[in-house]
Structures are given as structure tokens and as C-alpha cells.
């Protein structure tokens, strides 16, 4: 065993950010990820921990309007940020169109990956609208919606149940409905 150096300063700190429109003040061990802060400290258990290493997308949330893996980000690094989780996207009584489409198209089986999938799906439509290119974009200057674009852009969200084709149907419908 190696003897590890001990930190000289404090190993916890205060942070304030906004989650689903509400300001949250926390004092956290620096090691707490944004995902663990949301789930264990704020009680928002919609965002899921699949791998904790950026490999599955179950922890996807929106930070300042962009999707990120909340497992690979420290909570204390989010001072002043605006965070939206699946709970902020819609509720059972007031579903977001993407949530509604996932339900109608059976875009899940066990549902574990679903909050991350829905956060990503919404972000994907926005990223295409903003003209952000992807690996399958033929012309970097003309980004348009296609099944191939959705598949590529959703590749950071794994689904062990393999509900991919129904998710694609749901996303296609939301895009068409706009």
C-alpha cells in the first residue's frame, strides 16, 4: 500500500446552485459528484447511476441548457449553475411532450435509463436546431434531422433493455410535432 498524502486544507465546501428553478445551498465533501448531490442530498432520485464513469448516460442532466454526465462532475464546481433534472422537465400530471411520446411509443422497458434518455433526446433536438455537427453529418454547415443523426447523437445513452427503436420513434414524433 502506498501512503497517500493528506490534504492540508478543508476537504468540504459550500456551493449554491439552482435545481429545477429552486435555489439550493449545500455544504458538501469536495468528492460529492453532482449526481450524488442531486440524489442523496437533494432527494431527486430521477437521475440514475448506471456506471458512475461517463460510459452509460443514465445520469444525464441539463446544466445551463446543455446535457452533461452528472457523475463526472463535482457538485462544488457548479456554483451559480442552473440545473434541470427529469423532475424539472415534466411531472406525471404535466408531461413534457418527449415524456409523453416515450410512454406512447414504449420507449423503455425497465425504465432505468429513461430519465437520461429523455434529457438527451430533448438536448439532441436542440443541438440539431443549433446546427451543431455530429459524426454522421455529411455537410458540416447543414445539420438536418434524420434517423442517423438521432442514433449517433443518442449513442452516449445506453439501454440494457434495447428499447432504442421505440425511442427513435418517440423522438421522431416530437420532432415532427414541432
Amino acid at each position: 500500500m502506498t501512503i497517500h498524502d493528506m490534504p492540508k486544507g478543508r476537504t468540504d465546501g459550500a456551493v449554491r446552485f439552482v435545481v429545477n428553478g429552486k435555489t439550493v445551498n449545500l455544504t458538501l465533501d469536495h468528492r460529492v459528484t453532482l449526481l450524488d448531490a442531486l440524489r442523496e442530498h437533494i432527494g431527486l432520485t430521477g437521475s440514475k447511476k448506471g456506471c458512475d464513469h461517463g460510459q452509460c448516460g443514465a445520469c444525464t442532466v441539463m446544466v445551463n441548457g446543455r446535457r452533461i454526465n452528472s457523475c463526472l462532475s463535482l457538485a462544488v464546481m457548479h456554483e451559480g449553475d442552473e440545473i434541470t433534472t427529469i423532475e424539472g422537465i415534466g411531472t406525471p400530471d404535466a408531461l413534457d411532450p418527449m415524456q409523453d411520446a416515450f410512454i406512447r411509443h414504449d420507449g423503455y422497458q425497465c425504465g432505468y435509463c429513461t430519465p437520461g434518455q429523455i434529457c438527451s433526446a430533448k438536448a439532441v433536438l436542440e443541438e440539431i436546431r443549433q446546427g451543431i455537427p455530429s459524426h454522421v453529418t455529411a455537410d458540416l454547415d447543414h445539420v438536418t434531422f434524420s434517423d442517423a443523426e438521432v442514433r449517433e447523437r443518442m449513442s452516449g445513452n445506453l439501454c440494457r433493455c434495447g428499447a432504442y427503436s421505440n425511442m427513435l420513434n418517440a423522438i421522431r414524433e416530437v420532432e415532427a410535432g414541432k
Binding site: H4, D5, M6, P7, K8, G9, R10, T11, G13, D29, H30, R31, T33, D52, H53, G54, G57, T60, R66, R67, I68, N69, L72, S73, L74, V76, M77, E79, S120, A123, V124, E127, Q130, G131, I132, P133, S134, H135, T137, L140, D141, R151, E152, R153, S155, G156, N157
Partner: protein, 316 residues
């Protein structure tokens, strides 16, 4: 994860000074590589210097017609930047070939350059690894080496640089700009930025302790057809087995750098004279000193054929 203290830096010089002031400190940018490794205790900094508040997040023209890319420009923004898409499409293509949408939204230019190897034994803390634990040996030499280097390795390490962006930057002759705690700056050509493992595989790059990357500059656009082709085990969201970053002019001349084959993006400028003569001629020169292992010998024909595909595509 080991406990650590944390501060937010306010200027690049202060960040560099903070990283030198505390032994075993590290900068944290997007955190997508560092936190992954900290969770596994492969990295165990006692202090983190958060550099996200420094700005350095714009892409600006330089006086000599090139671009200066701030160290904190996110991979998504760099790939989507209008000037990069128009003049350096190779860089956009390499960026969007890497990781996932979520990761690219966080990953920074500097962090991407400094991402550590994906050698499976580097990640497995039960195994000997000279890069993770200098002097402990290299499990890959007698282990599964499918992912690992075919050229430029040593008896101490055969890891690869796993990234995509750096391969395009190598072909584009990018330069890494840094500042240290004393405020001294330097400009390091991409060719010299990543090291070969030699007998110090724990050092991935030529950066000194506390040296902070402020920007990456690109020289004036070189034109040509710019193609990045990545071969991997699944269609998306996987590291390269082999990648080719090529710039090909109408007369068949050009440049090419290879990813996934060495401890650094692999480019042999002298071999580029063979570009008009086709992939076989180029690959023979580029990989003349290759020392593949039985598990990864396939990378040599794969690299040649991927280049052949790219050269054919450039003629379309």
C-alpha cells in the same frame, strides 16, 4: 476517491502558482477524465485547482491568419465553431468522432490533449503498470495488447494516446501555449507535446509540474480535402483502434497522422512525399520501425487500408 482540498483559480498564472504551491495538486477542467481516474484512485491529488472560471473559452483569429483556441473551449463548441468548420474541418471531424454529446459538452481543449491512456492494465489497479506505478512492471507486454501501440513503444510501456482531437491537431501543425507559476510562457509544437514512453512512461507529455495550458494555436489554413476516419469496435462512443487524419491536395500531395497506434499521434513527415504514390508506399515508410505484438499486428494492415480508403474518398 481520496479526500482533497479545492480552490477556484482566477488567473492562469495564479492557477499555475496554486498547482506548484501544493504538492500533488492538479488542475480540473471538464473533469471527465480526471474524476474517472480519481474514483479508481489511479489519480489521487490532494488539492484540485478548478480552472473553469478563467475564461479562455473563445476561438480568435491570430495575426498570421490562423486561430487561437482557448484552453477551456469545450469540444462541442470547437467542433461547431464556424471558422473551424470552414477552414479546419479535419479538427471538427476528429472532435465529433470522440466520446459522446454529453462528454463533449464538458471536455475542454486542454483536458482532451492531456487525457490519459485507455490501456486496460493502467485502469486495473491490481495489475503492474509502469505508467500508473513507476517501476512495477508492464502487464501489457505479456497480456492482452489488442488496443495498444504498434510503434514507438518501449520495454517499459506500449500504451497509446487514446484521443482523436490531438491526431487532427498534429496533422494541422498546432502549437500548445503554456504559462508557468513564474509567468514564463512557452509554445510547444504538437509534434513535441506528447512523449514516447521510453523509461519514463509516467510522463505522457513534456509539460512540467504546474505548467498550465492557456491555448492551442493553428497556423493559417492549408486547404485540401480534410478527412478524419476512425475505425473502432462499435459505430459510435468507442475509442479508436486506428484513426487517420489526412489533408489531401488535388495533386495528390498532402499530410497524414495516425491515431491509436502509438503513445502520441503518429506522423512521419518524410513519408508524406509518398502520398501521391498511394497508401502502401506511405504506410511502408510511416510504419518502417513498427514492433507489433501478436494481438495488435492487425493494426498495420488496418492503418494502411484505412489510409487507402481516405485517399480514394479524397478523389471523389
Amino acid at each position: 476517491m481520496r479526500a482533497f482540498s479545492y480552490e477556484r483559480a482566477t488567473t492562469p498564472e495564479a492557477a499555475a502558482a496554486a498547482a506548484v504551491a501544493t504538492p500533488n495538486a492538479k488542475f480540473i477542467a471538464g473533469g471527465t477524465n480526471l474524476l474517472d481516474l480519481m474514483k479508481l484512485e489511479i489519480e489521487a491529488p490532494t488539492h484540485l485547482v478548478d480552472v473553469n472560471g478563467l475564461g479562455l473559452d473563445t476561438v480568435e483569429p491570430t495575426d498570421d491568419g490562423g486561430l487561437r483556441i482557448g484552453a477551456l473551449v469545450r469540444n462541442t463548441d470547437l467542433a461547431a465553431d464556424a471558422q473551424v468548420r470552414r477552414d479546419y474541418p479535419l479538427l471538427s471531424r476528429a472532435l465529433v468522432a470522440g466520446a459522446s454529446g454529453q462528454l463533449r459538452n464538458k471536455a475542454t481543449t486542454a483536458g482532451n490533449l492531456l487525457q490519459r491512456t485507455r490501456c486496460p492494465y493502467f485502469y486495473d489497479t491490481n495489475m503492474p503498470c509502469n505508467k500508473r506505478n513507476p517501476g512495477s512492471g508492464c502487464a501489457a507486454l505479456t497480456g492482452v495488447s489488442r488496443q495498444l501501440a504498434v510503434i514507438g513503444g518501449s520495454d517499459a510501456c506500449i500504451a497509446t494516446h487514446p484521443g482523436d482531437m490531438a491526431v487532427a491537431m498534429r496533422a494541422l501543425d498546432a502549437v500548445v501555449e503554456t504559462v508557468d507559476a513564474e509567468g514564463a510562457t512557452r509554445a510547444i509544437p504538437m509534434a513535441e507535446f506528447h512523449r514516447l514512453p521510453g523509461d519514463e512512461p509516467e510522463r505522457d507529455t513534456v509539460l512540467n509540474t504546474g505548467e498550465f495550458i492557456t491555448a492551442v494555436t493553428l497556423p493559417a489554413p492549408v486547404g485540401g480535402r480534410q478527412i478524419y476516419h476512425k475505425v473502432r469496435d462499435r459505430a459510435s462512443y468507442a475509442f479508436a483502434l486506428v484513426s487517420v487524419a489526412a489533408i489531401i491536395h488535388p495533386d495528390g500531395t498532402g499530410r497524414v497522422a495516425f491515431g491509436g497506434v502509438a503513445h502520441k499521434p503518429w506522423r512521419v513527415e518524410e513519408a508524406e512525399a509518398e502520398m501521391p504514390n498511394g497508401a502502401r508506399a506511405v504506410a511502408a515508410r510511416v510504419f518502417a520501425d513498427a514492433a507489433p505484438r501478436p494481438d495488435n499486428a492487425f493494426k498495420l494492415p488496418l492503418a494502411e487500408r484505412t489510409l487507402a480508403l481516405v485517399l480514394a474518398e479524397a478523389k471523389e
